[in-house]
Subunit: 256 residues, 2 copies
């Protein structure tokens, strides 16, 4: 069984080897620039760790894992545009729209989403693309609530904006590994939990969201409790989940 | 066999009846606003006319037809943004971003693309979604060439930006009707031709593209010749193609 670090290396190698639609022409460097900056790759690694824990073939899971990272990258590229968050930096480098211009940034985001779907459609079973697209729509709904300040229900906003793609990371892994529907429940409960954990830790690191609404001690306790619940969910999965446990720690302590 | 006008009515009714992902929440009105403005619906009508001419069931073709219109609308909503064409009007009404704001316009375009794919994934056969997504990537490549002024090869730019989605309108119709691959060639040749015809007439109406590069008499002759070639392609299709002939006239004379 491969450790998380090895899975991340496999993701990086696969992302670098991706060929995009030739029709994109000179737009391609803007996609690669956004995709190849050093991200944590937590979603694709989570997907592959689920594939392996569920007895599937990691190589077979690479297109699904990459599709998740492309959807995440599409959302970052569009989020950074002046029309949304207007962020000039991303992952320690100038944002795509700063380097390539706003129009190219917009089109690069569109192309990343379309390429993500194309990767998910590499499988014979359309269920994989369906789950990815449904998660993407949930994520967009979360982004909408975020930019319009509709954040009274912060848990719902997080569940959409962050949680859906985490849940799909687990879900796509299950589909790739061919886990039967009735057996998916404990895995999916874990997927919902680790997405929430990621978001709470993110809020602590960024000083917003839950961290802006709760006293420091309380938000730290919330993070610890959520990490405990995530580990407890993992215990309920009848499989060898040591790599997934490693990922929970990486999310909780942000070591990945 | 239904006339083009009846097919358009069926498309309009289906678009009005569409339910979007509930997670989109209050973003939905921005999608409906963009989608329900009175467009020509030429792509979905073309798709349904192919379905019917090829012996398929028009009702079964409606999700594919709607998916084509959603991709087209996504491209218009993003094209109109200040980052691209900065158009304040579309189809005689204020553009989506003027009504809803830039950020919401951006997210509404993203959601339209994702919803389009979801519609195409309503079919068991992933080939329909694959063809839609490949056409979308070609279209984005054309938009990129357009905004960066890479238009030395105007025919290639048109073939990507407009032609690919027209070709997919025919292609999705063939897939829905279950036309076997070896029998698709004359239909697909027609699809490429009607897309070119649409673009040449569009250039004449807008005074740009071919119309800006050729003397008026010459561009008119080019349009007439292309219309003739499109009708000739139609003759090669072994089916009752009177509704498709009606569509060629509608595109040539812009009566639809």
């Amino acid at each position: 069984m491969r450790r998380a670090e090895e899975l991340r290396d496999a993701v990086e190698a696969y992302l670098r080897s991706l060929t995009f639609a030739p029709e994109l022409g000179a737009l391609e460097p803007a996609l690669r620039y956004s995709l190849e900056s050093e991200g944590k790759r937590i979603r694709p690694v989570l997907c592959l760790a689920v594939v392996e824990a569920a007895g599937g073939d990691v190589e077979h899971g690479l297109p699904a894992a990459a599709a998740l990272e492309l959807v995440h990258t599409f959302s970052l590229v569009h989020d950074d545009l002046p029309a949304l968050d207007d962020d000039a930096e991303r992952r320690g480098r100038p944002s795509a729209h700063v380097v390539f211009g706003e129009g190219v940034g917009l089109l690069a985001g569109d192309a990343l989403l379309a390429e993500a779907v194309r990767l998910a459609l590499a499988y014979d079973d359309p269920a994989i693309a369906r789950e990815l697209v449904t998660a993407t729509l949930g994520m967009i709904g979360g982004q909408y609530r975020d930019i319009t300040g509709d954040d009274d229900d912060l848990a719902e906003l997080h569940e959409l904006k962050t949680g859906r793609l985490f849940a799909a990371s687990v879900g796509l892994g299950l589909e790739v590994a061919g886990v039967a529907d009735p057996d998916q429940a404990p895995w999916r409960a874990f997927g919902a939990q680790i997405g929430l954990l990621f978001q709470i830790v993110d809020d602590i690191l960024d000083g917003d969201g839950f961290a802006a609404r709760l006293p420091a001690g309380e938000v730290k306790r919330l993070a610890d409790e959520t990490a405990e619940m995530t580990r407890a969910q993992l215990e309920r999965i009848p499989a060898e989940t040591s790599v997934l446990a490693e990922l929970v720690d990486a999310v909780a302590f942000r070591t990945l």
